[in-house]
């Protein structure tokens, strides 16, 4: 089912050097080139290996619980008045988010490479939890790097990771968020490259990560297409997903690439509003540069220093984005917009109160934009929102905003 050969579309990116148009590539120190070449060669082989694919599919079915449902949010749609809002329920996956699709795949790569130790960076903690989970299951040592600021606002996930046997390292450098956690994980990897596999949590970083994360996450879009045909009788008019590093969005978008009748819309974190500069929306408000091994849209100052970001959701609080999104923006195949903290909070409450589904604050950004869009659409038109994760991890943040001590 999930062979990557089947996922090919007419764009066929990245090229052999990992380029998506001018974006992507492999901008790392020589000390990491060997490890990336090794990973690339292994992935090239395994992505065409039916046995590997069968193992991946089996884990997705029996461990993650796929396929995840496609749910018609009828009351929310009625509330907005206009188009139909459907939800791809990645929040129902084991560990509560789409992140696990990728960690299952990459943990298998680690296993095939015989690496006894895995490391990961995490923002919201969902990728850290998903990594700690697969590490526990495979008996691998696991270390998770997390910005000190995120350790504070995602305390529940920190404890989950520790219960799962992972060591969580608070990162105190730079802005103490996701980008700094990624720097620190890279440093660990350079130092321990012989016995360590680095599970990158989003479709970003140096080649081949953006490609392999996309391939592992593309199960989301493939299922959505089948389910749309079965439940709606046609493909949706638009698919909408939040964009942090871009993994849940590219997973949803990729299989739709050639279905140009379906609009693809990525929603970035608008923070306090784009005009304030306090946001995490590189595609909407940044420019191309080089960070974390890739060329891509970034938030940077005139001198090329990376800017601090702000978002109410830790998982979107990142100044870069996966290079395939930068490419899709450049060629105009996908559209990128931003939703503010307030809009996301409002969507969080609406979805909770009207549908009984509590979304992750990241996912709430996609819901917010879909609610806006739905108002402008006719009742026969369909939007599928990728509901990338559940909101349990964010209860503290929401309570704090409500002024409640927990």
């Amino acid at each position: 089912m999930s062979t990557t050969a089947e996922q090919n579309n007419s764009l066929s990116v990245p090229d052999a050097n990992g380029h998506f148009g001018i974006h992507g590539g492999r901008f790392v120190s020589e000390t990491l080139m060997g490890a990336l070449e090794e990973l690339e060669a292994l992935y090239e082989r395994l992505s065409k290996d039916p046995e590997f694919q069968a193992e991946f599919d089996k884990d997705l079915a029996h461990y993650v619980g796929r396929p995840s449902p496609l749910y018609h949010a009828e009351r929310l749609s009625a509330h907005c008045g206009g188009g139909q809002i459907w939800l791809k329920r990645e929040d129902l996956n084991h560990t509560g988010a789409h992140k696990v699709n990728n960690t299952i795949g990459q943990a298998l790569l680690a296993k095939y490479m015989g690496k006894p130790r895995v490391i990961a960076e995490t923002g919201a903690g969902q990728h850290g939890v998903a990594s700690a989970t697969v590490a526990a299951r495979l008996g691998l040592e696991c270390k998770v790097y997390m910005g000190e600021e995120d350790v504070r606002r995602q305390a529940l996930n920190v404890y989950r990771m520790r219960l799962l046997g992972a060591e969580v390292i608070p990162v105190t450098s730079g802005t103490r968020t996701l980008k700094d956690a990624m720097n620190e994980a890279m440093r660990d990897w350079v130092t321990n490259v012989d016995n360590t596999y680095y599970i990158i949590g989003t479709a970003a970083g140096p080649h081949p990560y953006p490609k392999l994360v996309r391939d592992f996450q593309a199960v989301i879009g493939r299922e959505t297409k089948h389910q749309s045909m079965a439940q709606i009788g046609r493909l949706p008019d638009a698919v909408v997903a939040c964009v942090g590093g871009g993994s849940n969005a590219i997973g949803m978008f990729y299989p739709f690439m050639d279905n140009t009748e379906t609009r693809m819309i990525g929603v970035e974190a608008g923070g306090f509003g784009l005009e304030t500069g306090q946001h995490a929306a590189p595609l909407t408000a940044g420019r191309p540069g080089v960070l974390h091994g890739m060329r891509t849209y970034l938030m940077e100052d005139d001198a090329g220093q990376i800017l601090g970001t702000h978002s109410v959701s830790a998982g979107l609080d990142y100044p870069g984005v996966g290079p395939e999104h930068s490419y899709l923006k450049d060629i105009g195949r996908a559209e990128y917009v931003a939703a503010t903290d307030d809009e996301a909070m409002d969507a969080f409450r609406k979805l909770t109160q009207i549908e009984g589904i509590m979304p992750a604050l990241e996912s709430a950004h996609a819901v917010a934009y879909a609610m806006k869009m739905a108002k402008e659409m006719s009742p026969d038109q369909v939007i599928v929102v990728n509901l990338s994760g559940r909101g349990d991890k964010d209860i503290h943040t929401v309570a704090q905003i409500d002024g409640i001590e927990m």
Partner: protein, 268 residues
């Protein structure tokens, strides 16, 4: 002939090895850098690697990471670093200066613009840590047009195929990263380095310098038994960190470390 080539030719003729200090420009404050560069030369430095601070120095350990932060607090930009080099050049026409840093600040001002300004300031070579040869066509062309060297890293994990490509595309000298890790992480293994360097001579005639993990004169001297030069970074930056509240003491204290290294290397 540019300054780097001239310097290594002279060293070879004299039967001496290069001592190459690394300091981050603008650490602990911008006014320190030029006096520090002169003091380093005075103490026996043959080439200076001047770090361009970056907000996300992924290949560096905490020591240089913090140096970047100390410098960036003062808003040090790549163009400011070029001004420092120009100021240094007013009194020193011979000592080669190599800028070491990350690609994004260079991209931000454009390759050609950067190469022209760097040349005008008196820079001799550029080492961009996160720019491997496969991605470097554009910057290499811009630097070549100005007669600037592009210096590449080679590591213990570099495959024979990539090593060959690096040896062909690099100029000035080659920088062998002596440990698996980030800057300042652990001490190097001299025997392993010797084996690798000896082997690498088959691929290139460029000078081979070794860096990462050289902490004292003894290690520098041992490395220079086989290599053409020793690059010394984290011990110097640590000293700067210790004196960051007494910046006027930095040049002399850091130069003293280089002086010891010079003595040890020359005595070996």
């Amino acid at each position: 002939m540019n300054r780097i080539e001239a310097r290594f030719n002279q060293l070879k003729a004299d039967g001496r090895k290069a001592i190459i200090p690394y300091v981050t420009a603008g650490d602990s404050e911008p006014a320190v850098t030029v006096p520090l560069m002169h003091a380093l030369v005075e103490a026996g430095a043959d080439v200076i690697e001047l770090g361009v601070p970056f907000s996300d120095p992924m290949a560096d350990g905490p020591v240089i990471q913090l140096a970047c932060e100390r410098s960036l607090v003062h808003g040090t930009r790549l163009l400011d670093v070029l001004d420092m080099v120009a100021e240094f050049r007013q009194q020193d026409a011979d000592t080669p200066v190599v800028l070491m840093g990350y690609l994004n600040p260079v991209e931000a001002i454009g390759y050609e613009n950067f190469a022209q300004r760097a040349k005008a300031a008196g820079v001799d070579g550029v080492l961009t840590v996160d720019l491997p040869p496969v991605e470097s066509e554009g910057l290499m062309a811009a630097l070549k047009a100005e007669g600037l060297d592009i210096i590449f890293l080679i590591s213990p994990t570099t495959s024979p195929v990539r090593r060959k490509a690096i040896c062909e595309q690099g100029s000035g000298y080659l920088y062998y990263v002596s440990v698996k890790g980030v800057t300042g992480s652990k001490a190097l293994n001299v025997d392993e380095v010797a084996t690798y360097i000896t082997d690498m001579r088959h691929d290139t005639d460029l000078p081979l310098c070794v860096g990462f993990g050289i902490r004292d004169g003894e290690a520098a001297a041992a490395v220079c038994q086989v290599a053409d030069g020793a690059i010394i970074g984290s011990v110097l930056v640590n000293q700067i960190a210790e004196l960051s509240d007494r910046p006027q003491e930095i040049p002399a204290a850091v130069a003293a470390i280089i002086k010891d290294m010079r003595t040890a290397v020359d005595a070996a």
